[in-house]
């Protein structure tokens, strides 16, 4: 099967700044793929390269086998991009904007699908309103709608929920999930890691223009050794034999649920069997547990660990 997006050793520099340093990725058809990284990591540069807005210094990008430079017409027909910037054309209404965007992609008489997209993004009531008169959230919805007017097999969303309300987020993810279930490939960049964790099947993390992690979401979370057992001791202290497991410095410096900091510990555990061993050692030392909580590692832990320079 041809990859939905094939990125091969893409490099891009701006004077002395290396924005992309040899990025290679293969995104399969029908995947919901997350592209994560801090500001300046190269996410938008990579997306712009996929969209043909930026031309790489070397390497290549193909959408469903069509090179975005040499076979740009076929490649762009396959692609719908929601840009990060909140841009709009102030001359037109929402419906005019969507009809024009359809036409650019060679589609006439596309009103049935335009109506469906507007309905799903809760834009129907604003169809004849000028773009200038829309709120930021509504403008963001129109951007999403513009990217979807030609039913692209590959949808790229560059921080689509930045600065928008919960209602739009839920509506947007419902609609995008439906499109993904129907076979559309989705590539998402977001700073909301819980969104990525909830939506994406596979994730690439970029740091300084390079891919530093690439795996399925579940494998990434499994691979991090970082589930934590947070215990608050009603009496007694942490035995010396458990001191090496103290994972989270922050908890030693702060109060935990209003309890004195000196009695709250965050202990690193790799599997559930270790929990029993910890509890046994606490009992042996005479400590009494007041409260206890087991925290699973999440994408944020992985993200922070990788961006701090760690590896998985």
């Amino acid at each position: 099967m041809t990859a939905a997006i094939q990125i091969t050793n893409v490099e891009k520099s701006y004077k002395s700044l290396k924005a992309l340093g040899g990025v290679s990725l293969t995104i399969a058809e029908g995947e919901f793929f997350g592209l994560l990284g801090p500001n300046g990591a190269g996410k938008t540069t990579l997306i712009s390269t996929i969209a043909g807005l930026i031309r790489p210094d070397s390497g290549s990008v193909a959408i469903h086998g069509h090179d975005v430079v040499t076979d740009f017409r076929a490649a762009r027909k396959m692609l719908g991009v929601v840009p990060q910037e909140l841009v709009f054309d102030p001359f037109f209404t929402v419906r005019e904007t969507l009809r024009l965007q359809s036409g650019y992609f060679g589609l006439k008489n596309n009103d049935k699908w335009i109506d469906e997209v507007m309905e799903n993004l809760d834009l129907t009531g604003k169809a004849d309103v000028n773009m200038r008169a829309l709120s930021g959230g509504m403008k963001r919805r129109v951007l999403v709608a513009q990217a979807l007017v030609h039913k692209p097999p590959v949808i790229v969303l560059d921080e689509p929920t930045a600065g928008v309300d919960v209602e739009l987020r839920q509506g947007l993810w419902k609609f995008i999930s439906r499109l993904n279930r129907e076979g559309h490939t989705v590539v998402l960049t977001t700073h909301y890691l819980e969104e990525a964790q909830a939506m994406c099947q596979r994730v690439a993390m970029l740091r300084a223009g390079k891919v530093v992690a690439l795996d399925t979401m579940s494998a990434l979370i499994r691979r991090i050794s970082g589930s934590q057992l947070i215990v608050h001791l009603a009496s007694g202290t942490l035995p010396a034999s458990l001191r090496h497991l103290v994972a989270h410095d922050a908890l030693e410096d702060h109060e935990y649920n209003g309890k004195p900091e000196s009695h709250t510990y965050s202990l690193r555990v790799n599997d559930y069997a270790e929990v029993e061993q910890i509890l046994a050692k606490l009992r042996e030392s005479g400590a009494v547990i007041g409260e206890m909580q087991l925290q699973q590692a999440d994408l944020e832990d992985i993200f922070l660990q990788i961006m701090d320079g760690g590896s998985l």
Binding site: L53, I54, V87, D89, F91, Q101, G103, Y104
Partner: protein, 259 residues
Amino acid sequence: MSSGTKFVSVGFQTLLYKETLRFWKVATQTVAAPILTAMLYLLIFGHVLEGRVEVYPGVSYTAFLIPGLVMMSVLQNAFANSSSSLIQSKITGNLVFILLPPLSHWEIISAYVLASVVRGLTVGAGVFVTTAWFADLSFVAPLWIAVFALLGAAILGTMGVIAGIWAEKFDQLAAFQNFLIMPATFLSGVFYSIHSLPPFWQAVSHFNPFFYMIDGFRHGFFGQSDMSPWTSLAVVSAFFAILATIAVNLLKRGYNLRH
């Protein structure tokens, strides 16, 4: 145009429609205002110089001035359409809506230039209709009128595309307009025949392509001109070919558009 592409694709038609609709939605500014400006030129220059200047035998100064004003309006508005649309789209960021779809550079430039021609001719027709009452005009060779109006508008529309691509801020576009387009238009014989100029400035005028556009256009009205219309046609066509090549090349390279 790339193989397998219809000559008049839906993408091209849509972009042409959008660029035309864009100026039409603000017609007070883009159509009515330049017509009023041309009327004021006619009233002032016509009033001051009528009876004092006879450029061609048997042609009043007001009659001489009207085709010049019509053509000047065609040229300036054709330039304004493509250049202002591109620079606004670049600065506000909505040019991305043109850059993301599968539009070829041929489709993009054709749509922008043709929309400029539509605006240029609309304003030109408006200027003609409102000023023609002030003088007895003849139409000796209507085909020359049409040819030079179309070519002039297409040339300035293409120059607008080049300026819009090159400029990164309004200031740069204003410089292009004020230091290049405006002087070239005013010094092209809109208000006078170059035969009334000293020899040096006559010679300089021959290097101004705008002179040939207006001179050829005027020939269509009076059958008289400073140059043969065929010479003007050759110069204007060559100039258009050069500008079109530059504009297509800039778009193809993605100059200032795709980084």
